[in-house]
Symmetry: C2
Subunit: 308 residues, 2 copies
């Protein structure tokens, strides 16, 4: 009897796989290494093999996949990180698992993480959710009326590439300048701190290091270091600006902040709230901003949500 939903979060280093029951409870999880050789040609095969080793095919209701690239109607347009070009995930996974009755759904990883937080995380009970994932880059996910906003090119929720900075105009990996990602990702926060150090003579513990992480900048801010505080203030002001502009577009019920950078904790909300309400006033009265609660599991929960 079919009783399990499989959530598959495909990353550039490893693939996280979760086994869920129909209610969306996570029963088991395992992972496989992402084989980037040969333009990622083995990735799907490895995933399906790992699933088959752990779960009988005829017990599977469906498989949801989250991938790091734009997805439209279960077709990924391209995944630079995986070496993939256009790929019909529904068709390829169906053919690999050889069971037409298994439902296959796919989504962009950041959109899927937002779905995960709505399904079983901090945004549970809401149907209109925006999520910003602050990591090496900045990802974004949008859920309206319980449905992922894929967009016509599969580029719904590319919130990391909203242009917010007209001052530094740091170059982004995407080829543009001034994207949110260049000032609010882990890399962006380090960019801002280094710029600030270079243009100031104020002492900061950050000057002890040739290189440092965003976490170190947050730590300095928490310990009342002026450069640390100014940097976090600036980064979170840009984040608040992007959140405000998305709020004025969609007026969502809740905005969730996740990703590795969010481990810095409540300090993020403290600085974001300092600006957000001024940026949205008088239109948005009480938008709910919250830290994500599922951590790295948001992706697999969201993949399960795609099947539910």
């Amino acid at each position: 009897m079919r009783k399990y939903i499989i959530g598959v979060d495909v990353g550039g280093t490893s693939v996280k796989i979760g086994k869920f029951n129909r209610a969306g409870d996570l029963l088991d999880k395992f992972s496989v290494k992402t084989d980037l050789s040969n333009h990622g040609a083995n990735i799907l095969k490895d995933i399906i093999q790992a699933i088959k080793e752990n779960i009988a095919t005829d017990e599977i209701i469906g498989i949801g996949l989250g991938v790091p690239g734009p997805v439209k109607n279960n077709v990924v347009i391209h995944c630079v990180n995986l070496g993939w070009g256009r790929k019909d995930l529904e068709k390829e996974v169906h053919s690999l698992i050889n069971d037409e009755n298994i439902i296959i759904q796919a989504g962009n990883d950041a959109n899927v993480a937002a779905a995960g937080e709505m399904f079983k995380g901090i945004a549970k009970g809401y149907k209109n959710v925006v999520m910003f994932t602050l990591g090496t880059g900045v990802g974004g996910g949008i859920i309206l009326d319980g449905k992922v906003v894929e967009g016509v090119n599969g580029s719904g929720g590319e919130l990391g590439h909203i242009i917010v900075d007209q001052r530094h105009n740091f170059a982004c990996n995407c080829g543009k300048k001034g994207c949110l990602e260049t000032v609010a990702s882990a890399t962006g926060i380090v960019n801002l701190a280094k710029t600030r150090l270079a243009h100031s003579k104020v002492w900061s513990p950050l000057r002890k290091y040739e290189d440092f992480s965003a976490k170190k900048v947050f730590d300095c801010a928490k310990e009342d270091d002026a450069i640390g505080k100014q940097t976090i203030d600036e980064a979170m002001r840009y984040l608040a600006l992007a959140m405000a502009n998305v709020s004025l577009t969609l007026d969502p019920e809740i905005i969730v902040i996740g990703g590795g950078v969010s481990n810095a904790g409540e300090i993020i909300l403290e600085y974001v709230n300092k600006y957000y309400y001024d940026y949205v006033n008088p239109f948005i009265k009480k938008a709910n901003i919250a830290m994500a609660s599922l951590g790295n599991d948001a992706g697999i929960y969201g993949c399960a949500y795609l099947i539910k």
Copy 2:
């Protein structure tokens, strides 16, 4: 027999009323003056009286209303221009028309205009539409999957208040600074031109006037005047930035530009396209930007769409 849909576009000066058949063909239109006395207490009464004088109540399928304020579930939160506070439009109109079988729906005027362009205008055939209405202010409307995005506070599509300008920081009527409205509305374009004239010694026909309109600035740009061209370039760059940020959020099928300022014509697309594709590249390949086609009737068509 019920066979007519009534679209009612409530403005601060007049109320436009359209009589449509079930298919959404406009059969007749008339208007009443907006009575702003006594906090707009007579407005709805005047509208219903005008409808009753023109159409037999038992022939009416439904009445759709567009109002200049945030609307959530047919309740307008406030309409500063009309003197209205919170108002349950469905309930009040039902009670005035005294026929429970008439469907009443209401929406924000800019959202409704977007629905109108989708229903019978330039965006016909699309279901995911963003509209910017450039007038004295800047309005915005968003339709996803054929449904108006109202938002949790009724503030979905407040695109005129997206913050795009961190340079001039002109004060907006909303109380914030740097909103799109301060640089891309008719007023905003004049703001930009005057600032440019004050900071430059270059001759321009605009210097002949103590005061001038946005139309005059467009006319100068069309006639190759440097100040005119630079002003329109700057205003349309801000508009393109807002469009790009909305595109990176929603990845819509089409973006429509309407409102009085759009009468300037193709020059708007020429300047917007100059920036838009750079701002969205490489995420959005072929977003469709188009000039609105229904003019002042977009509102009544959109109101009819609410009932359809």
